[in-house]
């Protein structure tokens, strides 16, 4: 092809076009920036509706992003982040944890059981927990996890456990989820690898959220993941942020990382199945934990905590934050259940010996359980000391006390257990410090503390030598922290009053006995006064009188008679409580005004050219009066009096200035109000929350921990020791550290049981619908429990109608008898927790709507009756009721027939019994059936059976089976229902229909035309003899001929058949041959074609090359 040189474009350098272009070039950038200005028409309002729509949409999107702001309650030193490593078996969970631990702390942990706490950075600690393949553990851990590392075997793909876990998470508030793909080295082909990665990633995204992080661990090096990849994963974990979840921020919880049995060994020896007292240790998370609260241990049950105390942090963050990374000493590891480090039990604290740089240190070979037992055996003596030291054991140990002391205790045994401890403490204290009372109280306490500390040390040193007495003394002193004393004072009086109901009685009988005590009390009272100030001085006479237990219950304050309000001094003492009194320095109107004047005082009126100077002196006073007028809501007589001197200054200048001033101030106020107009409600709310959080943090900041704990409870982030009495012995004997122990704190009234109404939906992946009255295992709040739900649907009139089964794809209501849990809490249901039977175990999910002590679910009940006598619109109906009384209850009820005739029950008849008269809107037939539609209330079965999976023997913890469903029972016992006879299928038998002959009257016949007249069809008679054909009888020769012909024809047929078969076989052979030949030919042809194509291709390529060359040459 010939190429033409095209004529180039000639730019115009002059003329209107060139001018226009130049103009454009000059303003070009500016115009492009603001298209709206350049082309206003394109952006004008085309349609108001559309504009409104776009605006709405934009606003919708904006508001959807908002979450309800929560008060930030995160403590300054947060608890370790709970990282749950989850995945199906053999996916590499333990390996990953080991690698992470090695990455963070440079230590090796061979057996991972129980939570492992490590310091991961300057401000963050992690608690790593491995989740085993048991739905119980999955549920428990999903409730406490902050971050879930979801391990997925890429060579296999997703497994059901992964999806189940994700769904569990979704219900209980979604923690952060990060997927980790392992077994990527099994892919030989790079393409399949990348494809698999992509496929898994997208599936993971649909499940979690678009863009969720999925991590790849590509291969193993010496049985470990690659260091760089683990390091990267570690970095991701360290920078992760967490959103507070509602349930967790409103409930305290502890993931126990250490368990200790405190039961008296003697009691266990006597009865190995006795209830155990156990102390559990762990970091407190969630919110504040109050002492003596109720906790739920999932898998065990509800318990009330007998004592909580906080311990020094076993795995503290580095104290001073430096710029550099952590050094080896600061990289701590704490995993008592895995038996890491030498455990040292010391009274109430645990010290872990962790010499630095022992990366190659061998882990103890002993199994963790035996380790625990060993520690118990080894620390028996210290345990005793501890028992004696702790408050509760103090009273179990009272048997060993001297008899007088025991008596003393008994005498003052009050009703409230709470007061009891403190009371006893006080009594003890008196006995000890009888001679020291003259001393200053503060001094005394300090010295006491010092003493007691010394004593403790002594005790521990010479354990064997300590006498009982000494132990007691020590117990007394240690149990009463110095701070507590001041608040003990109040309650301790109660028991005394409770003992003596009558004042008179007491004054006569007990006074002599209690004289000493009273004296003591007096002294302590004086201490009180010093501690609490003059507050109680006022009520002291009352106190000595002592309020009786049966005092009048009246909230009115008895005025103090000492104040005489007729005196001037008294009146003067409250003068400043009124607006007319003196104000504080920072609120005083005069000073404020002065400040204002200093700020804005000098200004020049531009219009008039006047210069206004700030005023001082008496003018200030005038303004104050003015200000009062504004504040005090209008003129009162007194205000005017104050204004009087100002009126004297009455010259125009002053008035004018005053007005101007007032105007200016009004304007300022207006500006202040409306300038920040863009602050939305949301922003305001957020700010308010921020303020509250700040306030909460500041309030108790400078208080000592011991005291602070009493005011606000134990702070999240503290390492606490929770003592729980009366745990079932199986908890200890069947203890398996691989199963998580969670102590979930319960709010007030969450320990009770009642009816719960919930909204429920069958999970769309669960294969079967759920049946009413089949037991179901629910995970709700902290708990897992079996219960019997009744499903219902709300009718349009608010009636709750019972359903036999859950709808397939729709929400329905469910009512259970279960633990009271706040509304809005999500739950999930599984049918069994033992074994894996269903392919997707989560049967249903939902949310709690309502709590109540009674429920009204009804089911439809149809009463059927039959008319036995029919008048015009009235008829008598029987069979619906049995007695007259029953009828009387239903008088006036509306009834209906099957055909739709409505009616009403009127009155019972005397006979037959239960029959009644009813009227209808139309006449009934005897064949009609009358029915009455009524609603019958259903009772919800009161089954609440907590899943006690942690009490099962080791290795069988995933086999907990509760109540079986009816179907299960029948299946197991081989019971088959006897079916209703009418419901069975039977062979269809058609009865022959018999029609009567058509009878046409003679008259009609006559009138009909001939063709319609019935023809007189007579039956045919017998054929006459002459018409009947005779039978043929053959001659002997003929017979022979026939036989021969027969034989010949059969021979011919046989020959024919044989020949055909032969021909067929031959043809088959031929076909085979032909096919073979064909195949060969095809092959040859293909070969040839290939050759040609190749040749053609090469030719083409050459051509292309040459053409390209040619083109390049051309250019």
């Amino acid at each position: 092809m010939e190429k033409k040189e095209q004529k180039r474009h000639q730019h115009k350098h002059s003329g209107p076009k060139a001018q226009k272009k130049n103009r454009k070039k000059e303003q070009g950038t500016e115009q492009e920036q603001d298209e709206r200005k350049r082309n206003p028409r394109a952006f004008s309002v085309q349609s108001a509706v559309r504009m409104a729509k776009t605006f709405h949409r934009a606003q919708d999107i904006k508001t959807k992003k908002h979450h309800i702001p929560l008060v930030d309650r995160t403590p300054l030193e947060p608890p370790p982040v709970v990282v749950v490593v989850m995945g199906p078996p053999k996916v590499g969970k333990s390996t990953l944890i080991r690698c992470l631990i090695k990455n963070y702390t440079r230590q090796k942990l061979s057996d991972i059981c129980g939570p492992v706490t490590i310091v991961s950075g300057k401000k963050r600690r992690l608690t790593l927990i491995e989740c085993n393949n048991d739905i119980n553990s999955m549920i428990d851990l999903a409730k406490v996890a902050d971050l879930v590392l979801m391990l997925i075997d890429a060579s296999f793909g997703f497994e059901m456990e992964t999806f189940e876990f994700l769904n569990i998470c979704q219900v209980h508030g979604f923690p952060r989820v990060m997927g980790v793909l392992t077994h990527l080295d099994t892919f030989k082909n790079n393409k399949t690898l990348s494809k698999t990665k992509k496929r898994l990633k997208h599936r993971f995204w649909t499940e979690v959220y678009q863009g969720a992080k999925l991590f790849y661990l590509s291969g193993m090096v010496y049985g470990e993941y690659q260091t760089q990849e683990v390091k990267n994963l570690g970095r991701f974990i360290s920078v992760m942020k967490f959103r507070p979840l509602v349930w967790r921020t409103s409930h305290p919880y502890v993931v126990a990382d250490r368990m200790q049995d405190l039961t008296d060994p003697e009691a266990i020896r006597l009865n190995p199945k006795c209830d155990r007292t156990v102390s559990l240790y762990g970091y407190l998370r969630g919110t504040f934990l109050k002492n003596k609260c109720q906790v739920h241990i999932p898998g065990v049950g509800d318990f009330s905590v007998s004592d909580v105390s906080f311990l020094p942090d076993p795995c503290p963050l580095p104290e001073v934050i430096k710029k550099r990374a952590l050094n080896v000493k600061e990289r701590l590891l704490y995993a008592p259940l895995a038996g890491v480090g030498g455990l040292v039990y010391d009274k109430d604290a645990v010290y872990i010996d962790m010499p630095s740089g022992h990366a190659s240190r061998q882990q103890e070979e002993v199994r963790p359980t035996t380790e625990l037992v060993q520690s118990l055996i080894g620390t028996q003596a210290t345990l005793d000391a501890k028992m004696a030291a702790s408050k509760v054991s103090l009273f179990t140990g009272t048997a060993a006390l001297t008899p007088e002391e025991v008596q003393e205790n008994e005498k003052q045994n009050p009703m409230e257990s709470r007061e009891w401890d403190e009371n006893a403490q006080r009594e003890r204290r008196r006995a000890v410090f009888a001679d020291e009372d003259e001393k200053d109280d503060d001094e005394e306490e300090e010295s006491d503390e010092a003493e007691e500390e010394e004593e403790e040390e002594e005790d521990e040193d010479e354990e064997g030598l300590t006498t009982l007495k000494k132990v007691d003394e020590k117990a007394d002193e240690t149990a009463a922290p110095p701070v507590k004393k001041q608040k003990i004072k109040e309650p301790m009086e109660m028991p005394a009053f409770a003992d003596s109901d009558d004042e008179l009685e007491k004054s006569e009988g007990e006074e002599s006995e209690e004289e000493e005590e009273v004296a003591e009390e007096e002294e302590e009272d004086s201490n009180d006064e010093e501690e609490l100030g003059g507050l109680f001085k006022v009520s002291r006479p009352e106190r000595s009188k002592k309020v009786r237990a049966d005092a009048m219950d009246c909230s009115r304050f008895q005025p103090d008679s000492s104040h005489d309000w007729d005196q001037e001094e008294m009146l003067a003492s409250i003068r400043d409580c009124f607006v007319t009194g003196k104000w504080e320095e920072d609120k005083d109107a005069a000073t404020l005004l002065k400040e204002n004047d200093e700020l804005y005082g000098d200004f020049e009126d531009l219009q008039t050219g006047e210069v206004h100077k700030a005023k001082t002196g008496n003018k200030d006073k005038a303004e104050e009066g003015n200000d009062d007028e504004i504040k005090g809501d209008g003129g009162d007589d007194d205000d005017e009096e104050e204004e009087a001197p100002q009126v004297k200054l009455d010259d125009d200048e002053v008035q004018k200035n005053k007005r101007l001033e007032k105007k200016r101030r009004l304007k300022e106020r207006f500006d202040a109000q409306y300038d920040d107009g863009d602050a939305t409600y949301f922003d305001d709310l957020k700010e308010e929350m921020q303020k509250q959080a700040e306030l909460n943090r500041q309030e108790f900041e400078d208080v000592d921990d011991e005291v602070r704990v009493q005011y606000e409870g134990f702070r999240p982030g503290m390492y606490v020791r929770v003592e729980i009495p009366a745990l079932p012995c199986e908890f200890v004997t069947n203890f398996d550290p691989h199963y998580p122990i969670v102590l979930g704190g319960l709010g007030p009234s969450e320990g009770n049981v009642g009816y719960l109404q919930m909204r429920l939906k069958k999970h769309r992946w669960h294969s079967r619908i759920l049946k009413t009255r089949d037991p179901l295992i629910l995970s709700l709040g902290w708990r897992r429990f079996q219960t019997i739900p009744l499903y219902y649907i709300e009718d349009h009139n608010g009636r709750h109608r019972l359903l036999k089964y859950t709808p397939e794809h729709m929400h329905c209501g469910a009512t259970i008898w279960g633990p009271i849990t706040p509304q809005g809490t999500g739950f999930l249901a599984v049918q069994t927790v033992g074994g894996i039977k269903a392919n997707f175990r989560i049967a249903a999910t939902g949310v709690v709507l309502d709590l109540d002590k009674s429920v009204t679910i009804v089911k439809k009940l149809k009463l059927i009756g039959y008319p036995y006598k029919i008048f015009k619109n009235t008829c008598f109906i029987q069979g619906m009721f049995n007695t007259v009384l029953e009828v009387a209850k239903f008088e006036g009820a509306s009834i209906r027939t099957v055909s739709g005739i409505k009616g009403q029950i009127k009155k019972a008849l005397r006979t037959p019994l239960g029959a009644f008269r009813a009227t209808f809107e139309d006449r009934l037939l005897m064949s009609d059936i009358v029915f009455l539609r009524s609603w019958y209330p259903v009772l919800v079965p009161q089954l609440y059976n907590p899943v006690t999976s942690l009490l099962m023997p080791v290795g069988q913890k995933d086999t907990w089976a509760g109540m079986r469903t009816l179907g299960h029972l029948k299946h197991d016992l081989g019971i088959r229902n006897k079916p209703n006879q009418d419901s069975l299928y039977k062979p269809v038998v058609r009865q022959v229909r018999h029609f009567n002959t058509l009878h046409i009257p003679k008259e009609l016949q006559k009138a009909l035309p001939f063709k319609n007249k019935p023809k007189q069809m007579q039956a045919k008679g017998k054929t006459p003899r002459d018409l009947q054909r005779p039978a043929v009888v053959r001659e002997p020769h003929e017979k022979k001929v026939a036989a021969l012909l027969d034989a010949l024809s059969s021979v011919y047929a046989y020959k024919n058949k044989k020949a055909k078969a032969e021909q067929h076989a031959k043809h088959k052979e031929f076909l085979k041959q032909k096919e073979k030949q064909d195949a060969e030919r095809q092959k040859r042809l293909k070969e040839e074609r290939k050759k040609t194509y190749r040749a053609m291709g090469q030719k083409e390529k050459k051509k292309l090359k040459s053409s390209l060359k040619g083109a390049s040459k051309d250019n």
Binding site: L532, V547, I574, F578, F700, G747, P748, L849, K853
Partner: protein
């Protein structure tokens, strides 16, 4: 939980209902000539039964032991015939604490004595408790106390309507600054002597603040109750929206010494001043003055909810004349939320 004696009877029952902890009260007036629960206490228990669902109450033969297992707070329309031994204020104080946590809006009609010398009267609660509840976030159109009929001590015959909306949770409250009193309002209940009472009260209070207005209550005929009596309720409002109240009621006819209406008014004004003198401030609940009743209440809160108050004393300034010493009480809430309310 177990308690002895009938002091703080209402506190215990109310806190038990709120915390849903069962309790047992033993030895109620067991040494008394007339042992057991009084009629007004029985009436109170009955009222609790009416506003709750599923409450179990067992009282022994003599009435000296009460077992109380609280149910769920229900609310709804309640009509209660309060015993005339105590005034409606006795019952209303408890209802004020319970009503916001019910399932549905409470609409209680209480019949009995509206004003008596022992208990805070309905008028006082109306002017002090309602603004306080509003501070806790319980506001809206539903909240009100209305005196339909008035009834004096011996015979009663009064009627009070109390309505309260339900809330999911309460707002934290900071009442750290009482503020200065900006106005004083009041209600005088009397037909003939109202003016005399009002004048005498004003004579004292006028020394402090001129913004005083005392209404006279006009209840006539059937709505004025079955027995005669007179009284005065005063309330002082501060610039921070805090209300301080005081009141005086006449004793029933034939009991006590006769008083002049002038003395009467003066007494009431003095009571208000006394109130002003010792007004104290707390962060989470407003307590006027720390008296025994309040201390008992704090103790019971600690028993039921494990909440302890931090009590700080506020030192008055050197030249400030603001009456007695004040205390500042702080506590961390229990995270209580209304679990009766239905969500849709």
């Amino acid at each position: 939980m177990e308690f002895e004696g009938c002091s703080c009877f209402r506190q215990r029952l109310v806190l038990s209902t709120l915390s849903r902890k069962r309790e047992k009260i033993l030895n109620i007036r067991s040494k008394d000539d007339n042992p057991g629960l009084r009629d007004f206490e029985a009436s109170f228990v009955r009222l609790l039964d009416k506003v709750t669902n599923g409450t179990r109450i067992e009282i022994n033969q003599t009435g000296t032991v009460l077992f109380y297992q609280p149910g769920l707070l229900y609310g709804g329309s309640v009509e209660h015939e309060c015993n005339v031994q105590r005034s409606i204020g006795y019952y209303l104080e408890a209802l004020l604490m319970l009503a916001p946590f019910g399932k549905t809006l409470l609409r209680a009609v209480l019949k009995g004595v509206t004003n008596d010398p022992t208990d805070p009267s309905v008028d006082l609660l109306k002017v002090t408790a309602i603004p306080l509840m509003k501070k806790f976030g319980i506001d809206g159109a539903g909240l009100e106390i209305k005196v339909l009929k008035r009834g004096m001590t011996p015979a009663g015959g009064g009627e009070v309507l109390f309505t309260c909306p339900v809330r999911r949770s309460m707002k934290p409250v900071q009442l750290t600054e009482p503020g200065k009193i900006k106005r004083i309002r009041g209600t005088a209940i009397s037909l003939q002597m109202a003016n005399r009472i009002v004048d005498s009260a004003r004579s004292i209070l006028n020394k402090f603040i001129p913004d005083i207005y005392i209404y006279t209550d006009h209840m006539k005929g059937a709505s004025s109750g079955k027995s005669a009596g007179f009284g005065l309720t005063l309330v002082a409002e501060t610039v921070n929206g805090t209300f301080l109240g005081a009141e005086v009621m006449s004793t029933p006819q034939g009991q006590g010494d006769p008083v002049l209406p002038e003395d009467f008014g003066r007494n009431c004004a003095k009571l208000l001043l006394e109130e002003v003198y010792r007004v104290s401030i707390t962060k989470h609940t407003f307590v006027s003055g720390v008296d025994r009743y309040v201390i008992e209440f704090l103790r019971h809160i600690r028993d039921f909810f494990q909440i302890m108050f931090k009590i700080e004393q506020q030192k008055p300034g050197e030249d400030e004349q603001k009456g007695g010493e004040k205390v500042l009480m702080t506590c961390v809430g229990a995270g209580y939320s209304n679990i009766s309310k239905t969500i849709k």
